[in-house]
């Protein structure tokens, strides 16, 4: 989920006229001092991290003098919490608090409606408040068609003992928060505390906002880099994978590392799942077999072969793994030969040095297994393909057998890019380029590339040379599905004059760094 930092959340609710403290996000002490001098009143400093309980770890501090401010600022900038380094601090006016409330809006999945939560006691966790002071808490659903009117909120707030101006003002703020929640596709929006100040203002002293990942595209102004929840900053490899995911809408691709540096303990394997449920079931089998997944990957939703290829290349960028396991539900509706060809291209390029078990059960599984057998296993690689009638547990037993007593630890190779001769015939696909060296094609009698492409009809023969049968624009837009069949056919049944280049931005440099580091 795309979580916003406190200052980002406050920027959002400010647009809906929710009062927030006068403040500034500061990246260095000079900025903080400048703000303090202008404000001329005590301030609070808050680290900007997704972490509750910041006070306990010294992430929230108060300052009344320039010296105090500078000293706290320097201390706090050095902090590291859960792998995140503090790189900015929100400096705000210190509020004169009369009362603290809690106000939040979340999506209640059970009722499938927004749920407003309010407590006339705030500051601590809402769960504690509800336990200790149930009378202070109200919650009510909102009909998303009717929306939230101020009277609806007032009717509920009186139950918690609110009255007078604070009743009216608080209800007004909650309605504005609801508008922000709706407009920005929030999964949750909480202010804890919502503060009633001595001078009678109702101010959001804190703000936690989580945007729905699937709606981030509607809110480009938020500048969310990776619309996904990470318990820590994303690793370099995860960023590379995310760029692949983002740049190709066909099918799903998800990659997360369980460990950034795989220990050479002979237990870690690269994991390549397909589909949420099937991946989980397959991970259970890994776990039951006493092995550990180094990463979690999911390519599903009928991805093109090129996407599976890139996923495999990224998984094989993790050194020290002793095996590779791909498995989904086993009875996939997607066309499994695409995945098979993705694996073939990746494993051949990588000259894969560890055993792999690929369970590609489902639609066209016979063809998928045949592809693996023919182009990997028969070529001497330790690769086994299975279908729906082989369980994940059986696959893991096979993988462990293949690993043997003394497993091989995967070594990451430099990325080798195909360098075409200057005058090769070439065309672009959705995410890559195809090069055909017609000088090689002259000696090729079979022309297996044409047969391999017959399903899509992108290639045709012209004066004995394979060329595009369709408009370049159409091909680039997706008429070529990047199924990789032509390249594999050319390599094994032709003369090897056809090459498909599917770049992965940043992977070459990443691997160079890794190899340098391990030297």
């Amino acid at each position: 989920m795309a979580k916003l930092f406190e200052y980002q959340g406050k920027d959002v609710i400010k647009k809906f006229s929710v009062p927030v403290p006068n403040g500034r996000l500061c990246r260095n002490v000079d900025e903080a001092l400048e703000f303090f001098r202008k404000l001329k009143s005590p301030v609070v400093l808050k680290i900007q991290l997704w972490k509750t309980g910041r006070k306990k770890i010294g992430g929230v501090r108060f300052a009344e003098t320039e010296e105090e401010l500078a000293s706290h600022f320097k201390d706090m900038m050095g902090m590291e919490v859960d792998g995140f380094k503090v790189d900015s601090i929100l400096v705000e006016e210190k509020l004169n608090i009369k009362k603290e409330f809690f106000a939040g809006i979340i999506v209640d999945d059970r009722a499938s409606k927004p749920l407003v939560l309010f407590s006339s006691i705030g500051g601590t966790g809402i769960e504690e408040i509800a336990r200790e002071n149930p009378g202070a808490v109200v919650k009510f659903h909102v009909d998303i068609i009717d929306g939230l009117q101020p009277f609806m909120v007032r009717e509920k707030l009186v139950e918690t003992g609110l009255e007078g101006k604070e009743l009216v003002k608080t209800a007004d703020v909650i309605v504005k928060l609801y508008r922000a929640f709706r407009e920005y596709d929030a999964r949750s929006l909480e202010t804890n505390p919502l503060v009633l100040t001595e001078d009678g203002r109702v101010v959001a002293a804190d703000c936690h906002m989580v945007i729905d990942d699937y709606a981030v595209y509607r809110h480009k102004d938020l500048g969310i880099e990776i619309a996904r929840e990470f318990p820590r900053p994303p690793t370099e490899l995860e960023k590379i994978a995310y760029r692949v995911e983002e740049s190709d809408y066909r099918g799903t691709f998800y990659f997360i590392q369980m460990v950034e540096d795989v220990p050479p303990d002979g237990k870690h394997i690269g994991f390549h799942g397909a589909g949420g449920g099937g991946s989980m079931m397959s991970m259970d089998a890994v776990h039951n077999g006493g092995l550990i997944i180094a990463n979690f990957t999911d390519t599903s939703g009928n991805p093109p072969a090129s996407k599976v290829y890139r996923a495999a290349k990224i998984i094989l960028s993790q050194p020290n793994n002793v095996g590779y396991f791909a498995s989904g539900s086993g009875v996939a509706s997607q066309e499994q030969f695409n995945s098979a060809r993705g694996f073939v291209k990746a494993f051949l390029e990588e000259d894969i040095d560890i055993p792999a078990v690929l369970r590609l059960g489902g639609n066209y599984e016979e063809l998928a297994i045949e592809i693996l057998d023919r182009y990997l296993k028969s070529q001497g690689y330790k690769v086994e393909g299975y279908g729906k009638d082989t369980s994940p547990d059986e696959c893991i037993r096979v993988l462990k057998d293949m690993m043997g007593e003394k497993p091989v630890f995967h070594k990451v190779r430099p990325v080798e890019e195909y360098e075409p001769e200057g005058d090769e015939y070439k065309f672009e696909t959705m995410t890559g380029k195809v090069f055909i060296n017609h000088r090689v094609c002259v000696d090729c009698e079979e022309k297996p590339c044409i047969e391999a492409c017959s399903r899509y009809g992108v290639l045709k023969l012209e004066e004995g040379r394979p060329v595009l049968a369709l408009e370049r624009e159409e091909v680039k837009k997706g008429k070529c599905t990047e199924c990789l069949a032509c390249e594999i056919a050319c390599r094994f049944h032709g003369k090897g004059g056809l090459h498909i280049v599917l770049p992965i931005e940043g992977l070459k440099e990443y691997r160079e760094g890794l190899i340098e580091h391990n030297r």
Binding site: I126, D143, G276, M280, D284, G362
Partner: protein, 298 residues
């Protein structure tokens, strides 16, 4: 009998001229589903698989009568519009296939569906299939494989994972256990008809003798099923499996989420609730067919 779809269900396809729409229309037709036509705004007058294409749902309804169900295959950002178009035109059952539909759009669709007395499966669903009768969506991939994999019988399947819907159904069929209807409820946090609703439908279906439910961590769907069993609303036997044993504990919801769910949503809490209600929970996925056989006394 079966639930949601059989050979008499009149089905339209929204987004019928798109890549997915075309392929899945072919699958549905070849499997025997009664697909009557489709809609793609701006493509009225064309034909797909010999079926008429209309610009609007209203046009289709005026020409062919109101379909019983629609299958939506438009891109995620356009789903809300397509779903509301169907609901406002009186269609009472929607299958929403696309993944990544914004949550607030789903909330709106659900609110309007309730107002108009419509129901929907999805989003992010592979679909619904009643063996030998009909399929909505894309279960099986091709009619040939769908026929091979899924045998007709009396066990209802409901799953939160698409692949697992097919997997459970195939492994049951392989063991000689036939199926009444198989349902992928959809993978998202908020779906139209979650497990408890599907279980109630199976309860009322005379052909269904027992149910299999595949659950996952997150949401309170499985706990709700446990409540229905406990309170006697559901009396037919259920075999349940909850995935995610090896999954690392994710950061789950906000604090406010916890107060609503009251500690629900973990694998352990789901298993506990189901077992307490007397539901048969199996520990290994591959034990599902055996457990179903025992329950059916086969």
């Amino acid at each position: 009998m079966s639930i949601i779809v059989d050979s008499t269900t009149r089905v339209m396809v929204q987004g019928i001229t798109g890549r997915e729409g075309r392929v899945r229309t072919k699958l549905m037709k070849e499997y025997g589903t009664n697909v009557i036509g489709g809609v793609t705004p701006g493509r009225g007058g064309q034909e797909v698989e010999g079926l008429p294409v209309f610009n609007t749902v209203k046009e289709l309804v005026d020409n062919l009568g109101t379909p019983d169900a629609t299958c939506i295959f438009v891109p995620a950002p356009l789903v809300k519009d397509a779903a509301l178009e169907a609901i406002f035109n009186g269609i009472k059952f929607l299958l929403i296939v696309p993944d990544r539909v914004p949550l607030h759009d789903v909330l709106e669709i659900k609110a309007y569906a309730e107002r108009f007395g419509a129901r929907f499966i999805g989003p992010n669903t592979l679909g619904v299939l009643s063996p030998g009768k009909g399929v909505l969506g894309m279960i099986g991939g091709r009619a040939k494989t769908a026929r091979e994999w899924f045998k007709q019988g009396s066990v209802g399947v409901s799953s939160r994972s698409g692949g697992i819907t097919s997997a459970i159904s195939y492994y049951l069929s392989r063991e000689g256990i036939g199926l009444s209807t198989i349902v992928h409820v959809g993978g998202d946090a908020v779906v139209g008809l979650p497990h408890p609703e599907i279980m109630k439908m199976f309860q009322e279906d005379p052909e269904t003798e027992a149910m299999v439910m595949f659950g996952e961590i997150g949401t309170s769907q499985e706990e709700q099923v446990a409540e229905l069993v406990k309170s006697g609303v559901i009396t037919k036997p259920i075999v349940a499996y909850i995935g995610g044993k090896g999954a690392r504990e994710g950061t789950r919801f906000s604090h406010a989420g916890a107060i609503v769910e009251g500690g629900r949503g973990t694998r352990e809490s789901k298993i506990r609730a189901l077992k307490e209600a007397g539901v048969r929970v199996v520990d290994e996925f591959m034990d599902i067919p055996k457990a179903v056989k025992e329950i059916l006394g086969k």
